[in-house]
Symmetry: C2
Subunit: 326 residues, 2 copies
């Protein structure tokens, strides 16, 4: 099978490629080719027997998606997108990439007459405050960011194009991915990963919100697991409501720190400095806390069941199993 | 004040124009000008002191919306749209008019820096089956038609553009408008009006579904009332969830016929011939039945409270108060 991945140079894209190459197949079908697209050149994996090709450019450019779809991918992972903060800061860029890029990709598929499976990464940003304590699967969509609006519009297109038989789509609403590897970034949600990642690298981390803040997480490994599982399930089981809220671990920040302490010891956890930032706290207070995710669990999507497992996944996948010697 | 109306040649547009001209003002502000746009030339009203201008063309054409917004309307009624059946039959036309036309209008406003009030007619087609017996205001949006998908995307844009302060928007989800004046059309919902309108004109009407079918209606007069009220309410009272399900009268088809019988007599009601059409019934079974509409009622939107009033409104507004002599 041929697999197209947009956003292939991003964190989730790179991890998905790694898993696909390791597995060599999806749902029992051998992977013959990977077409990897991003705005910056995606790295080509070393994989015997898999023909990998890099495509670099803007999905919203005239003809860009047509060229990708002309290669007749059997499976399309549409991961490309401008992140929340950037979509809020740059209105035009967000709508161009997240809405127009998505629509152009979907329309290129529609007009090709080819009917691949399409897995689209959406986000819990399709929900808007105020929230119940646990957000049910049928909670309504009233996004409070341009990013969430663009993801909601992508979800609506995905469901309509699937209903019409242009492709077979599944929308995957990712929770916060934690522990996000790499350097700290300026996202308001960055600290959720930072307070685990930096101490495990022997460095200080700032916690800008109270320990009582509740948030739902899944590891990068689970995010990849969602994407693989979405490609293999029988979509008749999903029915017309094609967009699914993924499971995750709902914990307080205090519980996150307890997990870090259990796994890496109190000296590592002591590298977290509490410096409250009212701006970040104000943003985080409008974020959803816990999700029911019954539909996705019933469909066989699985995530970690404790935050300890999320910390452990980071130690195994990013640190070669090594803890800092403190 | 200057008012722009798109879809001005449509049924709701024409009735809105009639009301605006009769009132001469909206929310206490004198109407100085009406800019009337449609794909076919809208009729200009006779109205002393109101400068009316007709614009004909496709809203999705390059430059079309910019020309309208350059006139700096204080209030924009965006009623233009391709109807449900047409949007389903003609995929490209539906997305072009209902999505691209709406986005171009909203973007023309955004880029003008002018900040009008914008009233957008959405639809209960943003909801998709299966439904609870009464659909609450926070029911989620899983449309099952391309029309409903396009309206949902328009609603999402309206909320985001309002949140960002580009304009001050209100989305009005209309129930089925009944009694729709004019000739019978081929819409699957056509019989809801037809079984009242044709007998009141002394003609036979076909009822293609069982009398037990439940549906929610509001008169054309109420639809215009929603649009006027939306222009006058303080949108701070609405908050960020800008799209409102309007109230209406939820009745069985049997109760519709009972109203007709009470108002026009059994001989008129006997003009309804029951000829079941399994295709129409199959479509109608996926339609929502009743709505809570608590938010809109609390905000002062009002509709008829009985189907008798809906029949009476038709007799008064379309038949000069006259019943057929049977």
């Amino acid at each position: 099978m041929r697999i197209l991945i947009t956003g292939a140079a991003g964190m989730v894209g790179r991890k998905l490629i790694g898993r696909l190459v390791r597995d060599g197949s999806v749902g029992g079908k051998r992977i013959a080719a990977l077409d990897l697209h991003d705005i910056v050149a995606p790295a080509l994996p070393e994989a015997a027997g898999i023909e990998s090709t890099a495509f670099t450019g803007d999905l919203a450019d005239e003809g860009a998606t047509e060229a990708l779809i002309a290669r007749k991918p059997d499976l399309v992972y549409h991961l490309a997108g401008v992140v929340s903060g950037e979509a809020e800061a740059n209105f035009d860029l967000g709508y161009r990439v997240n809405l127009d890029g998505t629509r152009r990709l979907f329309d290129a598929i529609r007009l090709s007459g080819h009917r691949p499976k399409v897995i689209f990464t959406s986000s819990i940003a399709v929900f808007g405050a105020p929230f119940p304590e646990v957000i049910p699967d049928d909670f309504f969509n009233t996004p409070m960011t341009s990013y969430g609006t663009q993801k909601l519009m992508g979800e609506a297109l995905l469901a309509d194009y699937s209903r019409r038989g242009f492709f077979d789509g599944v929308g995957i609403r990712l929770p916060t991915i934690c522990v996000r590897p790499g350097k700290p970034n300026k996202a308001a949600s960055g600290f959720f990963s930072g307070i685990i990642r930096e101490p495990l690298a022997g460095q200080e981390a700032i916690l800008p919100v109270p320990r009582s803040v509740v948030h739902t997480h899944a590891s990068p490994r689970s995010a990849v697991g969602f994407l693989i599982h979405a490609a293999t399930i029988d979509t008749d089981r999903i029915g017309p409501r094609r967009n699914l809220t993924m499971p995750g671990v709902g914990v307080t920040v205090g519980e996150q720190i307890d997990s870090l302490t259990r796994i890496a010891g109190p000296k590592v956890a002591a590298l977290i400095k509490e410096v409250q930032d009212p701006t970040i706290w104000a943003i985080v207070q409008n974020w959803p806390t816990r999700f029911e995710a019954k539909r996705s669990r019933d469909l066989g999507f699985t995530a970690e069941t404790s935050f300890d497992q999320i910390v452990q996944a980071h130690v195994e996948d990013e640190l070669g199993g090594k803890l800092p010697a403190l």
